[in-house]
Symmetry: C2
Subunit: 174 residues, 2 copies
Protein backbone atom coordinates (compact mmCIF):
# COMPACT_ATOMS: atom_id res chain seq x y z
CA UNK A 1 0.00 0.00 0.00
CA UNK A 2 1.40 3.41 -0.92
CA UNK A 3 1.63 6.06 1.74
CA UNK A 4 -1.01 8.06 -0.14
CA UNK A 5 -3.46 5.17 0.09
CA UNK A 6 -2.90 4.92 3.86
CA UNK A 7 -4.18 8.45 4.35
CA UNK A 8 -7.88 9.36 4.25
CA UNK A 9 -8.96 12.92 5.12
CA UNK A 10 -5.31 13.57 5.91
CA UNK A 11 -5.58 11.02 8.74
CA UNK A 12 -2.75 8.51 9.01
CA UNK A 13 -4.75 5.29 9.31
CA UNK A 14 -1.71 3.25 10.36
CA UNK A 15 -0.99 5.65 13.24
CA UNK A 16 -4.62 5.57 14.44
CA UNK A 17 -4.73 1.78 14.05
CA UNK A 18 -1.46 1.45 15.96
CA UNK A 19 -2.83 3.53 18.80
CA UNK A 20 -5.95 1.36 18.97
CA UNK A 21 -3.84 -1.83 18.94
CA UNK A 22 -1.66 -0.45 21.72
CA UNK A 23 -4.69 0.40 23.89
CA UNK A 24 -6.19 -3.05 23.25
CA UNK A 25 -2.89 -4.71 24.16
CA UNK A 26 -2.65 -2.78 27.43
CA UNK A 27 -6.11 -2.86 28.98
CA UNK A 28 -4.69 -1.77 32.34
CA UNK A 29 -2.77 1.19 30.94
CA UNK A 30 -3.65 4.44 32.69
CA UNK A 31 -6.08 6.87 31.12
CA UNK A 32 -4.61 9.66 29.09
CA UNK A 33 -3.72 12.70 31.23
CA UNK A 34 -4.14 16.31 30.15
CA UNK A 35 -3.27 19.52 31.90
CA UNK A 36 -3.18 23.26 31.41
CA UNK A 37 -2.19 26.29 33.42
CA UNK A 38 -3.84 29.67 33.32
CA UNK A 39 -2.07 32.86 34.27
CA UNK A 40 -4.24 35.85 35.11
CA UNK A 41 -2.85 38.86 33.23
CA UNK A 42 -4.98 41.64 34.72
CA UNK A 43 -8.62 42.72 34.44
CA UNK A 44 -10.47 39.97 32.52
CA UNK A 45 -7.48 38.79 30.49
CA UNK A 46 -5.56 35.56 30.91
CA UNK A 47 -2.99 33.45 29.11
CA UNK A 48 -3.29 29.66 29.25
CA UNK A 49 -0.69 27.08 28.31
CA UNK A 50 -0.84 23.35 27.55
CA UNK A 51 2.37 21.39 27.05
CA UNK A 52 4.54 23.52 24.75
CA UNK A 53 1.51 25.33 23.34
CA UNK A 54 0.12 28.75 24.11
CA UNK A 55 -0.53 31.39 25.12
CA UNK A 56 -4.26 30.79 24.67
CA UNK A 57 -5.38 34.36 25.30
CA UNK A 58 -8.84 35.12 26.67
CA UNK A 59 -10.68 38.34 27.45
CA UNK A 60 -14.26 39.56 27.74
CA UNK A 61 -16.09 41.81 25.26
CA UNK A 62 -16.42 45.50 26.10
CA UNK A 63 -20.13 44.97 26.85
CA UNK A 64 -18.99 42.73 29.70
CA UNK A 65 -16.42 45.26 30.92
CA UNK A 66 -13.49 43.59 29.16
CA UNK A 67 -11.15 44.95 26.51
CA UNK A 68 -12.27 42.50 23.78
CA UNK A 69 -8.73 41.47 22.89
CA UNK A 70 -9.59 37.77 22.45
CA UNK A 71 -12.41 35.20 22.56
CA UNK A 72 -14.01 34.81 25.96
CA UNK A 73 -14.07 31.59 28.01
CA UNK A 74 -17.56 30.47 26.99
CA UNK A 75 -16.60 30.93 23.33
CA UNK A 76 -13.56 28.73 23.96
CA UNK A 77 -15.93 26.02 25.19
CA UNK A 78 -17.79 26.12 21.87
CA UNK A 79 -14.48 26.13 19.96
CA UNK A 80 -13.25 23.17 22.02
CA UNK A 81 -16.42 21.24 21.19
CA UNK A 82 -16.23 22.15 17.51
CA UNK A 83 -12.57 21.18 17.22
CA UNK A 84 -13.19 17.92 19.10
CA UNK A 85 -16.01 16.98 16.75
CA UNK A 86 -13.80 17.89 13.77
CA UNK A 87 -11.19 15.38 14.97
CA UNK A 88 -13.92 12.81 15.44
CA UNK A 89 -15.39 13.28 11.96
CA UNK A 90 -11.96 13.12 10.31
CA UNK A 91 -10.91 10.00 12.23
CA UNK A 92 -14.18 8.08 12.10
CA UNK A 93 -14.81 8.96 8.46
CA UNK A 94 -11.30 7.76 7.61
CA UNK A 95 -11.91 4.50 9.47
CA UNK A 96 -15.10 4.02 7.41
CA UNK A 97 -13.40 4.95 4.11
CA UNK A 98 -15.56 8.08 3.84
CA UNK A 99 -13.79 10.99 2.19
CA UNK A 100 -14.71 14.47 3.40
CA UNK A 101 -14.16 17.41 1.06
CA UNK A 102 -15.12 20.06 3.60
CA UNK A 103 -16.68 20.22 7.03
CA UNK A 104 -17.83 23.12 9.16
CA UNK A 105 -19.61 23.23 12.49
CA UNK A 106 -21.69 26.13 13.80
CA UNK A 107 -22.26 26.15 17.56
CA UNK A 108 -24.38 28.37 19.79
CA UNK A 109 -25.70 28.60 23.31
CA UNK A 110 -26.97 31.06 25.89
CA UNK A 111 -25.68 32.01 29.34
CA UNK A 112 -27.66 33.64 32.14
CA UNK A 113 -25.36 36.49 33.18
CA UNK A 114 -27.58 37.23 36.18
CA UNK A 115 -26.47 33.98 37.77
CA UNK A 116 -22.81 34.72 36.99
CA UNK A 117 -23.13 38.16 38.58
CA UNK A 118 -24.87 36.74 41.65
CA UNK A 119 -28.16 38.50 40.84
CA UNK A 120 -30.13 35.26 40.45
CA UNK A 121 -29.95 31.65 41.54
CA UNK A 122 -29.55 28.84 39.07
CA UNK A 123 -27.16 27.38 36.54
CA UNK A 124 -24.52 29.88 35.39
CA UNK A 125 -23.40 27.80 32.40
CA UNK A 126 -24.86 26.76 29.09
CA UNK A 127 -28.08 24.83 29.62
CA UNK A 128 -28.05 23.66 26.01
CA UNK A 129 -25.67 23.88 23.09
CA UNK A 130 -27.04 23.66 19.56
CA UNK A 131 -24.79 22.77 16.70
CA UNK A 132 -25.07 22.21 12.98
CA UNK A 133 -22.46 20.30 11.02
CA UNK A 134 -22.23 21.04 7.29
CA UNK A 135 -20.40 18.31 5.45
CA UNK A 136 -19.37 18.06 1.80
CA UNK A 137 -18.91 14.40 0.89
CA UNK A 138 -20.00 11.88 -1.73
CA UNK A 139 -21.01 9.38 0.96
CA UNK A 140 -24.72 8.62 1.17
CA UNK A 141 -26.97 10.28 3.72
CA UNK A 142 -27.36 7.19 5.92
CA UNK A 143 -23.60 6.68 6.17
CA UNK A 144 -23.05 10.34 7.03
CA UNK A 145 -25.83 10.30 9.63
CA UNK A 146 -24.34 7.19 11.26
CA UNK A 147 -20.92 8.90 11.24
CA UNK A 148 -22.42 12.02 12.83
CA UNK A 149 -24.16 10.12 15.61
CA UNK A 150 -21.05 8.07 16.37
CA UNK A 151 -18.85 11.19 16.50
CA UNK A 152 -21.16 13.07 18.86
CA UNK A 153 -21.54 10.01 21.09
CA UNK A 154 -17.79 9.42 21.45
CA UNK A 155 -16.57 13.03 21.60
CA UNK A 156 -14.43 13.64 24.72
CA UNK A 157 -15.42 17.31 24.85
CA UNK A 158 -19.05 16.50 24.01
CA UNK A 159 -19.18 13.93 26.80
CA UNK A 160 -17.53 16.35 29.24
CA UNK A 161 -20.28 18.87 28.49
CA UNK A 162 -23.18 16.41 28.37
CA UNK A 163 -22.35 14.56 31.58
CA UNK A 164 -21.93 15.87 35.12
CA UNK A 165 -18.19 16.18 35.77
CA UNK A 166 -16.78 16.66 39.24
CA UNK A 167 -14.62 19.72 39.84
CA UNK A 168 -12.14 19.25 42.66
CA UNK A 169 -10.77 22.66 43.55
CA UNK A 170 -8.12 23.87 45.94
CA UNK A 171 -6.93 27.36 46.86
CA UNK A 172 -3.31 27.96 47.84
CA UNK A 173 -1.99 31.32 49.03
CA UNK A 174 1.41 31.96 47.45
Amino acid sequence: MSSAAATVNGVDLAAVGGLAQQLLAEPDAPKSSWSARTQWTGAFTSASYAREHGPIVSDEPTLLAGSNSAPNPVEYVLAALGSCLAVGYAASAAARGIELRALEIELAGTIDLRVFLGLAEGHAGYDRIELTTRVDSDADDAALQELHEHVVKTSPVGNTIEHPVELRTRLVKS
Copy 2:
Protein backbone atom coordinates in the same frame (compact mmCIF):
# COMPACT_ATOMS: atom_id res chain seq x y z
CA MET B 1 -13.66 59.24 42.93
CA SER B 2 -10.69 59.24 40.61
CA SER B 3 -10.64 56.83 37.70
CA ALA B 4 -7.73 55.02 39.36
CA ALA B 5 -9.84 54.43 42.47
CA ALA B 6 -12.66 52.95 40.34
CA THR B 7 -10.36 50.17 39.14
CA VAL B 8 -9.44 47.16 41.25
CA ASN B 9 -7.43 44.32 39.72
CA GLY B 10 -7.71 46.24 36.44
CA VAL B 11 -11.48 45.70 36.59
CA ASP B 12 -13.64 48.74 35.81
CA LEU B 13 -16.05 48.61 38.74
CA ALA B 14 -18.40 51.17 37.19
CA ALA B 15 -18.71 49.09 34.02
CA VAL B 16 -19.41 45.88 35.99
CA GLY B 17 -21.86 47.73 38.24
CA GLY B 18 -23.58 49.22 35.21
CA LEU B 19 -23.97 45.78 33.67
CA ALA B 20 -25.50 44.45 36.88
CA GLN B 21 -27.89 47.43 37.11
CA GLN B 22 -28.93 46.92 33.50
CA LEU B 23 -29.65 43.21 34.09
CA LEU B 24 -31.62 44.02 37.25
CA ALA B 25 -33.61 46.69 35.40
CA GLU B 26 -34.53 44.27 32.60
CA PRO B 27 -35.47 41.00 34.28
CA ASP B 28 -37.10 39.75 31.07
CA ALA B 29 -34.11 40.52 28.86
CA PRO B 30 -32.93 37.49 26.90
CA LYS B 31 -29.98 35.46 28.08
CA SER B 32 -26.64 36.32 26.61
CA SER B 33 -25.99 34.44 23.34
CA TRP B 34 -22.63 33.07 22.26
CA SER B 35 -21.57 31.31 19.13
CA ALA B 36 -18.55 29.92 17.33
CA ARG B 37 -17.84 28.20 14.06
CA THR B 38 -15.24 25.53 13.47
CA GLN B 39 -13.71 24.85 10.09
CA TRP B 40 -12.02 21.48 9.62
CA THR B 41 -8.63 22.11 7.99
CA GLY B 42 -7.54 18.52 7.27
CA ALA B 43 -6.39 15.58 9.36
CA PHE B 44 -6.92 16.51 13.05
CA THR B 45 -6.53 20.26 12.58
CA SER B 46 -9.25 22.89 12.75
CA ALA B 47 -9.66 26.64 12.97
CA SER B 48 -12.46 28.07 15.09
CA TYR B 49 -13.79 31.61 15.09
CA ALA B 50 -15.92 33.59 17.55
CA ARG B 51 -17.17 37.07 16.59
CA GLU B 52 -14.15 38.87 15.12
CA HIS B 53 -11.71 36.59 16.95
CA GLY B 54 -9.75 33.63 15.73
CA PRO B 55 -8.50 31.43 14.30
CA ILE B 56 -8.42 29.28 17.42
CA VAL B 57 -6.23 26.51 16.03
CA SER B 58 -6.45 22.96 17.35
CA ASP B 59 -4.58 19.76 16.54
CA GLU B 60 -3.70 16.48 18.24
CA PRO B 61 -0.27 15.45 19.56
CA THR B 62 1.81 13.11 17.42
CA LEU B 63 1.12 10.28 19.89
CA LEU B 64 -2.54 10.61 18.90
CA ALA B 65 -1.70 10.65 15.18
CA GLY B 66 -1.83 14.45 14.87
CA SER B 67 0.86 16.91 13.85
CA ASN B 68 1.03 18.67 17.24
CA SER B 69 0.73 22.15 15.79
CA ALA B 70 -1.57 23.43 18.54
CA PRO B 71 -3.33 22.52 21.80
CA ASN B 72 -5.91 19.77 21.44
CA PRO B 73 -9.63 20.10 22.17
CA VAL B 74 -9.54 18.65 25.69
CA GLU B 75 -6.73 21.05 26.58
CA TYR B 76 -8.91 23.91 25.31
CA VAL B 77 -11.59 22.78 27.77
CA LEU B 78 -9.11 23.16 30.64
CA ALA B 79 -7.95 26.54 29.30
CA ALA B 80 -11.58 27.68 28.97
CA LEU B 81 -12.21 26.72 32.59
CA GLY B 82 -9.01 28.38 33.80
CA SER B 83 -9.71 31.60 31.91
CA CYS B 84 -13.32 31.65 33.13
CA LEU B 85 -12.22 31.27 36.74
CA ALA B 86 -9.60 34.02 36.20
CA VAL B 87 -12.38 36.42 35.12
CA GLY B 88 -14.41 35.36 38.13
CA TYR B 89 -11.58 35.93 40.62
CA ALA B 90 -10.74 39.34 39.14
CA ALA B 91 -14.37 40.51 39.11
CA SER B 92 -15.48 39.08 42.44
CA ALA B 93 -12.29 40.16 44.21
CA ALA B 94 -12.74 43.67 42.82
CA ALA B 95 -16.35 43.73 44.04
CA ARG B 96 -15.09 42.73 47.51
CA GLY B 97 -12.22 45.26 47.48
CA ILE B 98 -9.68 42.43 47.46
CA GLU B 99 -6.54 43.26 45.51
CA LEU B 100 -4.83 40.38 43.74
CA ARG B 101 -1.14 40.67 42.96
CA ALA B 102 -0.94 37.45 40.97
CA LEU B 103 -3.12 34.45 40.28
CA GLU B 104 -2.44 31.17 38.51
CA ILE B 105 -4.59 28.09 38.05
CA GLU B 106 -3.31 24.59 37.32
CA LEU B 107 -5.86 22.19 35.84
CA ALA B 108 -5.71 18.49 35.07
CA GLY B 109 -7.91 15.58 34.13
CA THR B 110 -7.88 12.20 32.43
CA ILE B 111 -9.65 10.88 29.35
CA ASP B 112 -10.32 7.23 28.48
CA LEU B 113 -9.10 7.04 24.89
CA ARG B 114 -10.55 3.53 24.55
CA VAL B 115 -14.04 4.97 24.71
CA PHE B 116 -13.16 7.67 22.16
CA LEU B 117 -11.77 5.03 19.82
CA GLY B 118 -14.83 2.83 20.25
CA LEU B 119 -12.82 0.08 22.01
CA ALA B 120 -14.78 0.34 25.26
CA GLU B 121 -18.14 1.55 26.49
CA GLY B 122 -18.48 4.43 28.91
CA HIS B 123 -17.89 8.14 29.26
CA ALA B 124 -15.44 9.49 26.68
CA GLY B 125 -14.91 12.82 28.46
CA TYR B 126 -13.28 13.98 31.66
CA ASP B 127 -14.86 12.27 34.64
CA ARG B 128 -13.20 14.71 37.03
CA ILE B 129 -11.14 17.88 36.69
CA GLU B 130 -8.79 18.85 39.49
CA LEU B 131 -7.56 22.37 39.80
CA THR B 132 -5.37 24.38 42.12
CA THR B 133 -5.51 28.16 42.27
CA ARG B 134 -2.40 29.95 43.57
CA VAL B 135 -3.17 33.47 44.65
CA ASP B 136 -0.88 36.24 45.87
CA SER B 137 -2.90 38.72 47.92
CA ASP B 138 -2.85 40.45 51.29
CA ALA B 139 -6.46 39.45 51.97
CA ASP B 140 -6.95 37.02 54.85
CA ASP B 141 -7.42 33.31 54.31
CA ALA B 142 -11.12 33.26 55.09
CA ALA B 143 -11.87 36.08 52.63
CA LEU B 144 -9.87 34.35 49.91
CA GLN B 145 -11.57 31.01 50.57
CA GLU B 146 -15.00 32.64 50.38
CA LEU B 147 -13.95 34.33 47.12
CA HIS B 148 -12.72 30.99 45.72
CA GLU B 149 -15.93 29.15 46.55
CA HIS B 150 -18.09 31.92 45.11
CA VAL B 151 -16.06 32.01 41.88
CA VAL B 152 -16.21 28.24 41.34
CA LYS B 153 -19.94 28.19 42.11
CA THR B 154 -20.81 30.97 39.65
CA SER B 155 -18.40 30.12 36.82
CA PRO B 156 -20.23 29.74 33.50
CA VAL B 157 -17.63 27.29 32.18
CA GLY B 158 -17.44 25.50 35.54
CA ASN B 159 -21.21 25.10 35.60
CA THR B 160 -21.25 23.91 31.99
CA ILE B 161 -18.77 21.18 32.94
CA GLU B 162 -20.31 20.29 36.30
CA HIS B 163 -23.91 20.02 35.11
CA PRO B 164 -25.47 17.87 32.41
CA VAL B 165 -25.88 20.07 29.32
CA GLU B 166 -28.03 19.04 26.38
CA LEU B 167 -26.34 18.88 22.98
CA ARG B 168 -28.78 19.38 20.10
CA THR B 169 -27.01 18.37 16.94
CA ARG B 170 -27.93 18.44 13.28
CA LEU B 171 -26.12 17.24 10.17
CA VAL B 172 -26.57 19.04 6.85
CA LYS B 173 -25.03 17.85 3.60
CA SER B 174 -23.67 20.80 1.67
